[in-house]
Structures are given as structure tokens and as C-alpha cells.
């Protein structure tokens, strides 16, 4: 990929700037109203009409949660290879790079949040549905190791369909690799806050998304291990209302709190402050 393309905005309906969409409107999936892109962006990517949460790509997430110009990226250049020669994987990787304008599905680095020095990673749902392959696992593991070495907290924003099938067992075992790095980070008394966004499922749900000292979620985010269609098939009837939604996952006891988007930064600042970070 050309370096220049990294500086272009993502190929996402809400992320174009430029002339093409200066006064563009998009139709909100939930309320079906046409809303101006500018208004949505100003409103933390939440529909000003009905409160629907639009997808936020990883780089924007980091901007929204960290102090201005404080973010320094680590290991940006890591790129996936088709290790197993899996059919159509090369073209999918290429398409994902073009669509997301990123090298891979997670962005990692160091920043300050309300003045508190912290490591942060954000997954990108635009990159093969945020699936975890070897590079995603490696980048997150390296970040936890870096944070352990520097005694820094980690804030992780997850969005993922699970392990990346095209890398076979190598991707499955990233779950083990990252979990072990989270444990080492924790053993040294460091703080890890996970913020789960829509959707956080499969192998990511069954590893580092569920290993935070504090586990937060966005409203209405789908959080779970198995896909709803798979469960429906074994169940043979419709799923209960609100199943795997953050609100019911909270009721089941697997989340500490649901934090609306406009409060997330101050919420993180408060937590970091209370942990003397």
C-alpha cells in the first residue's frame, strides 16, 4: 500500500471530507431519517434524531478518547500475509486495506487521556470485520508487553467478529497469546480497561475483551461468544428480546457499566485518575 493513501480519509460514508459530501446526508438505519453527515460527526457519531450509534472507525475512536495530538502509534507497519495460502485471502486483505485505509484491523499506541499516560488500542470493524489474525494478535500482545515494561494502563476498544478463519489455528491461538500478555500486565498491578463496542464476538469475546479489570460497553452493542444465527438454529425458536445486547449482558453480570459515547472520555479520565495512573 502506498504511504500517501494512509493520509486519506477512510472509505466510510461518514468519514469522507472533501467536496463530494460536504453537505451530504445519510439515512439512519434505525429511524430511516436523512441526517446530515456534519451533524452526526459533531454529535459523536450518534444520530441526533434517534440516538442510533453509527460505526466509528479505529483512528477516529482514538481521537475521540485521547488528548489532542497526544497519540503516538506503535507497530503501524505490521502487515498480514497469507501464511496458509488460503483461497481469496490475498484479495480480501487488499480490499480491507483499501476500505479501511489501514494496514490491519487494530491500531495500537500510547497517548494521554485527561493528562494520564496510557496505552490504547482500537480495533477497526472496517478491516475484515475486525477479525483477529496473527498481526492483530501480535500488535495487541506487543502493546500489553510495552505497557507492562513501562507500568502503564491499557485502554482497549474492541469490535470484532472473532478469529480470522483464513489464518486457521494461527489466528485461534492469538487468543491464548494475548490472554497471557494481559495476565502478565495484570500481575504487575497494572490497570486494563476494556470498552466493548458493537459487535464484540467470537474469539475476541472469549479472550481479551472479557479480561479487563473494568469492562465497559457502548449502549446497544452486541456482545457474545456464539453468533445469534447459530444459536437460533440449535434452539429452533426466536431468541429472547435484547439477547446479547450490552444492556442484557450487564444484567447477566458480565459488564461493569454501559457508558454513552459522549461520556466515555471523561469516564476513562476518572478511572485513570482513581487508579493513580
Amino acid at each position: 500500500m502506498e504511504l500517501r493513501s494512509l493520509f486519506l480519509k477512510a472509505n466510510n460514508e461518514l468519514e469522507y471530507s472533501g467536496n463530494r459530501i460536504r453537505s451530504r446526508k445519510v439515512t439512519c438505519k434505525k429511524c430511516q431519517k436523512d441526517v446530515s453527515v456534519a451533524k452526526i460527526r459533531k454529535n459523536n457519531f450518534v444520530c441526533p434524531n434517534c440516538g442510533h450509534y453509527f460505526t466509528v472507525r479505529a483512528r477516529r475512536r482514538i481521537l475521540m478518547l485521547t488528548d489532542k495530538r497526544s497519540f503516538v502509534e506503535l507497530n503501524r507497519e505490521y502487515e498480514s500475509k497469507n501464511i496458509l495460502g488460503f483461497p481469496e485471502y490475498d484479495s480480501k486483505l487488499q480490499a480491507a486495506k483499501e476500505k479501511s485505509r489501514e494496514f490491519e484491523g487494530v491500531i495500537c499506541g500510547e497517548a494521554t487521556i485527561g493528562g494520564h499516560r496510557s496505552c490504547i488500542f482500537a480495533m477497526d470493524g472496517n478491516f475484515m470485520m475486525g477479525s483477529m489474525g496473527a498481526v492483530v494478535g501480535e500488535k495487541i500482545t506487543s502493546l500489553f508487553e510495552y505497557a507492562t515494561e513501562k507500568s502503564l494502563p491499557v485502554v482497549g476498544i474492541t469490535v470484532s467478529g472473532g478469529a480470522r478463519m483464513q489464518e486457521g489455528m494461527i489466528s485461534l491461538m492469538q487468543m491464548s497469546k494475548v490472554s497471557a500478555a494481559v495476565k502478565r500486565h495484570s500481575n504487575k498491578g497494572n490497570l486494563y480497561i476494556a470498552l466493548l463496542t458493537n459487535p464484540t464476538t467470537g474469539g475476541v469475546d472469549a479472550s481479551f475483551a472479557m479480561l479487563g479489570d473494568i469492562t465497559l460497553a457502548e449502549p446497544d452493542a452486541r456482545i457474545g461468544f456464539a453468533g445469534p444465527r447459530v444459536i437460533e438454529k440449535t434452539l429452533n425458536r426466536a431468541l429472547p428480546k435484547g439477547f446479547q445486547k450490552a444492556e442484557s449482558v450487564l444484567e447477566c453480570g458480565f459488564l461493569d457499566a454501559i457508558v454513552p459515547r459522549d461520556q466515555q472520555k471523561s469516564y476513562l479520565e476518572k478511572l485513570l485518575r482513581m487508579h493513580n495512573c
Binding site: 488460503f86 480470522r164 489464518e167 487468543m175 497469546k177 444459536i231 447477566c252
Partner: protein, 251 residues
């Protein structure tokens, strides 16, 4: 034999199951029940026993032998309480300095409403997390199906072995084909591409040993000598090596 045939064979109903391996390797196996939070999961059999002169903790995912038995074991698909029972007994093993043996044979963790509501993801995650620095040796043998996260949850081990005719995969070839090409017909092509056989996984360096099938006595000998070796390592070395083993996978 094509890779997909190995998958189908690993699902065969006439195969030896975890109880056969437990009874064939462990003397005086004493089963313990329950996760101490919710219940006792029949899909996971766990307890202690003697491997020759060595007290060990043994955990197996059991599929069952006949229809009734299979229902009692939920066809070898564990709920969160199954993984929590396994973890409870691993922690007990750590306390009493017993090595842990896991016999893995599952199509996957159970997919259901109650499994989700009781935290299937969290249960698997916690096993990976806690096993990563459990201060006693862990050896896992995939004896049939190594179905994704549900099998991984008992495989964060110092040694991962596989029977020659077992498979271990990130996803079942059928659902992979279904997701990618909206049809299960290409499951055999996908099975090849997923690198799920013992031979391919050994070549990738993801497993440590390929074991002969139908040789339970030989397996017992091999497990015994390997655990003896691992028990001689000092704790920090053991944990460091386990960390590096998984650290080196991938990029």
C-alpha cells in the same frame, strides 16, 4: 486420506472417547463434580488419579457412548460451568503440585442462550488467562475433535499433543464454507486450506507431538515421561517457556 475425511473420522461415533483415555491411563480415577458457582457440567469429566506413581489431575471433554449417555454429556459441548469446573480443578492441582492432563474432544463450546447468559466467552477467556501462568505442568492431548475456542480453553498447555487422526481448527470446515461461499459443499476444499490435521499443525509448529491412534498404553507412557520432565523444571522456567511457546505463534 483427505483432510476432510480426517474431520469426519474424528467425529465418528465408534471412536474412543475421553473416559477411555482416562481409564486407560489413570489408576484409581476419582471424579470430582461442580464448578462451585452454578452446577455440574456433564460434558466435562474431571478428577484426580494416579499415573503410575504420580498423582495427577485429569480433565476430559466427554462425548458419551450411546444416545442416553451422549445426552448426559451434552455431546461433548461444554457450558461455561464445564470450563469453570476445569479451571477449579486446575487451581487445585496447582495448590497440591500435581500436573494436569487434558483430553480434548469437542465440536466446540455449546452455543445456546443459557450458555451465553452465563458467560461462555468469559469462561473460555478466564481459562486461557489463568492457565497461562498456572504453576504446575499442563499437557493436553486432542483425541478427536479440537473444535475452536471450546477446545482451546483446555489447551493453553506446556505441551499440546494430537492423535494422528484428530483435528484442531479455528472453525468447522462446514461453517467456514458457509460463511465464505454460502454453501457447505466446499467443506472439503476448506478443510485442506484450514491446516487442521495433526501433520500440518505439527509442521506449523503449533503442536508438539503426533500420537499414534489406538495405543492408550503407549500414550500413558509418553505422558508419564513428559510430565516427569516438566515437573523437574523450576516454576519460573516452566511459566516463561509456556509464555514464549504462545508468544512465538504468528507474526
Amino acid at each position: 486420506m483427505k483432510d476432510y475425511d480426517i474431520v469426519l473420522g474424528a467425529r465418528g461415533e465408534d471412536r474412543l472417547t475421553a473416559v477411555d483415555y482416562i481409564n486407560g491411563t489413570i489408576k484409581e480415577f476419582t471424579e470430582f463434580h461442580g464448578d462451585r458457582y452454578f452446577g455440574d457440567d456433564g460434558a466435562v469429566i474431571a478428577g484426580i488419579g494416579m499415573l503410575k506413581d504420580m498423582p495427577v489431575t485429569v480433565i476430559g471433554i466427554e462425548k458419551g457412548k450411546n444416545t442416553e449417555d451422549r445426552i448426559a454429556h451434552n455431546f461433548g459441548s461444554a457450558h461455561p460451568e464445564g470450563y469453570r469446573k476445569a479451571l477449579r480443578l486446575m487451581k487445585q492441582a496447582e495448590k497440591f503440585h500435581r500436573p494436569v492432563i487434558c483430553f480434548v474432544d469437542t465440536a466446540g463450546a455449546f452455543c445456546g442462550v443459557d450458555a451465553e447468559e452465563r458467560g461462555q466467552g468469559r469462561a473460555i477467556a478466564e481459562n486461557l488467562y489463568e492457565m497461562s501462568d498456572l504453576k504446575t505442568p499442563i499437557l493436553s492431548v486432542v483425541i478427536g475433535e479440537g473444535g475452536s475456542g471450546g477446545a482451546l480453553a483446555l489447551s493453553h498447555s506446556d505441551r499440546i499433543w494430537m492423535l494422528e487422526d484428530a483435528y484442531f481448527s479455528v472453525v468447522s470446515p462446514e461453517s467456514c464454507a458457509n460463511i465464505l461461499w454460502k454453501s457447505t459443499e466446499k467443506a472439503d476444499v476448506v478443510a485442506d486450506a484450514l491446516f487442521l490435521t495433526s501433520e500440518k499443525l505439527y509442521k506449523l509448529g503449533l503442536i508438539d507431538k503426533i500420537c499414534k491412534k489406538d495405543d492408550v498404553a503407549g500414550l500413558a507412557e509418553d505422558i508419564y515421561s513428559e510430565l516427569k520432565r516438566l515437573c523437574e523444571e523450576d516454576e519460573d522456567t516452566l511459566i516463561d517457556e509456556r509464555y514464549q511457546k504462545f508468544r512465538n505463534i504468528g507474526y
